[in-house]
């Protein structure tokens, strides 16, 4: 059964190699989102490439985040891979869970790795979307339930950005229907990446607010906002810019209606930080905080 966590507030992604950036915004944050994948390296074993925690990076993260509420945001689980998810990611998440509590954890809804006929793992090098089908729901929903049980905290699936036209879908299904079926079939919540959905609405020509209006808003636990750039006519999920005004508007709309949102996060890629800079980073987090507090005060 889905269980909503207590609200945390405003968060931001942890940069493992940039403690000065982390420190520069600490006063604006209620929690930090940690991607354990970024504390890892790749090892070769008899079973092929496996992720291994780098003790120095883990120790540094634990030290820096001492006393700070943490959520976990995975990149490498590949929860939608038909032939099986990336269990070496779960091994590192187990390792993290042994030494650090986290309020919830989340993963991207899609797949990164597939398996060739000979059993070789194929890393696509870029997250790929799932078709909007019952088959995909039947694959992912039980895995989400396993994760809720395994870690004893809420598990969230993040809606993906995709650039392929006309993704295969069951009759009458679209992305929103797919997300709703997933949360109805499982005990997981949603990490609603508003910028991803905004990109999809721009790139595939649908109305963002109309889509949000059909979403199971009671299952939205966390919200991501971000900014990106245009490339060849597509708005890319670059995490490298200010949040567009349309996304701020959608966030206000959402926070007024989604009863279980427990955290909002401004996402910036580590490597894109020089493009964004301290000033913009702080201003975006200040605005996010103001938006969050305003919505909370109205609800109270």
């Amino acid at each position: 059964m889905f269980s909503a966590p207590a609200p945390l507030g405003v968060g931001w992604s942890y940069f493992p190699t940039s403690p000065e950036v982390n420190a520069s915004v600490r006063d604006l944050l209620d929690f930090v989102e940690l991607s354990p994948d970024m504390l890892c390296r790749e090892m070769y074993t008899e079973r092929g490439p496996r992720m291994r925690m780098q003790p120095a990076l883990l120790a540094s993260a634990l030290h820096e985040l001492h006393g700070v509420p943490v959520t976990v945001h995975g990149l490498e689980l590949s929860i939608g891979t038909a032939s099986g998810w990336n269990d070496s990611y779960l091994a590192i998440l187990d390792e993290l869970a042994d030494v650090r509590t986290f309020a919830w954890h989340s993963e991207h809804l899609g797949y990164l790795v597939s398996t060739a006929p000979g059993g070789e793992l194929i890393n696509a090098g870029v997250p790929l979307p799932l078709p909007f089908t019952q088959e995909a729901v039947d694959l992912v929903a039980p895995r989400a339930d396993q994760l809720v049980e395994r870690y004893g905290v809420p598990f969230l699936l993040e809606n993906a950005v995709y650039y392929f036209p006309d993704l295969p879908a069951d009759a009458g299904w679209d992305e929103i229907h797919f997300l709703n079926r997933l949360v109805e079939r499982s005990s997981c919540g949603l990490l609603l990446d508003l910028f991803n959905l905004y990109c999809n609405s721009v790139n595939h020509g649908f109305d963002l607010i109309e889509a949000l209006g059909r979403l199971r808003l009671d299952r939205v636990v966390e919200v991501h906002v971000a900014g990106g750039k245009l490339h060849d006519g597509f708005l890319l999920d670059g995490h490298c810019d200010r949040v567009p005004e349309s996304v701020w508007s959608a966030l206000e709309w959402l926070l007024a209606r989604a009863p279980n949102v427990a955290g909002v996060v401004y996402e910036v890629l580590d490597q894109a930080f020089p493009l964004v800079g301290f000033e913009v980073l702080r201003s975006q987090l200040e605005r996010l905080r103001a938006t969050w507090l305003s919505a909370r005060s109205v609800r109270a």
């Binding site: 790749e42 003790p55 120095a56 038909a82 398996t115 696509a124 790929l128 088959e135 650039y163 060849d232």
Partner: protein, 248 residues
């Protein structure tokens, strides 16, 4: 729908196109339905597919840029693009991990651009630093005890000596800042990379480099190797730097 077959085919298409080779649905995709095959075939002509492949290639270039910035900077914009594309073509299977991408890239850059002044040495330097940094971050032990004169020693597999053709500090600084590189000289400037050095590197003498090279070939008896005072001193300083280890 066979989700497994669809995913495998889609991954193959993205990997192929991103590597710059023709992407097509293959006969191996026997589990695909006609509709799935049709969708995948049409997909490769769409702008959305091209953008997805561009993103995959950017991520790969980003990983190389993050892990091997100095070598990449020496290539300059035009040459850089050529080497990156060739890297993708020869190594079509991406990894999410920086070092896995950077090591073959460094090897390829040294192979394709030996004419670029200082590039071969810089690539060797970044390669050695990546391997050493990875081992240290992974908690690999670096402590050394006393040099046992009765046990054979060998070069530590994570240590390296790079022979630059100009002062390494000037080359590294120029590459990092995008400034003019110092001219190539006839003499060698040796840089030792080893586990116990501050910042993991220091200039080393020709004697140290010679002893290290000998021990790279295989284990040797330190008494025999350090028969003369110069070699004995080099043996000691290399040992203290963590550039040697007791032979197994």
């Amino acid at each position: 729908m066979s989700l497994h077959a669809w995913q495998t085919s889609l991954s193959d298409l993205v990997i192929a196109r991103a590597a710059g080779v023709p992407a097509s649905v293959t006969a191996a995709d026997a589990c695909l339905s006609d509709a799935e095959r049709h969708w995948l075939t049409r997909l490769t002509d769409t702008p959305g597919f091209r953008v997805t492949c561009d993103i995959q290639r950017w991520w790969r270039e980003f990983r190389v840029q993050s892990a091997a910035p100095l070598t990449l900077s020496l290539l300059g914009p035009g040459r850089r693009q050529d080497v990156v594309l060739e890297f993708a073509r020869r190594n079509p299977k991406p990894s999410s991990f920086f070092i896995r991408e950077a090591l073959p890239f460094l090897d390829l850059a040294a192979e394709l651009a030996p004419d670029v002044p200082h590039l071969t040495e810089l690539a060797a330097f970044e390669r050695a630093m990546l391997l050493l940094g990875q081992a240290l971050a992974g908690g690999q032990a670096v402590g050394v005890g006393e040099l046992d004169p009765h046990a054979n020693v060998q070069a530590h597999p994570l240590a390296a000596v790079v022979r630059f053709k100009a002062p390494p500090d000037r080359i590294l600084a120029a590459a990092a800042r995008g400034l003019a590189l110092p001219p190539v000289e006839d003499r060698a400037y040796c840089l030792l990379i080893a586990t116990r050095l501050p910042n993991l590197a220091r200039a080393c003498s020709g004697d140290e480099a010679a002893v290290f090279d000998t021990l790279r070939q295989g284990p040797a008896d330190p008494c025999a190797l350090g028969g003369d005072p110069v070699s004995a001193a080099a043996l000691t300083t290399l040992w203290q730097a963590g550039a040697l280890r007791q032979a197994a």
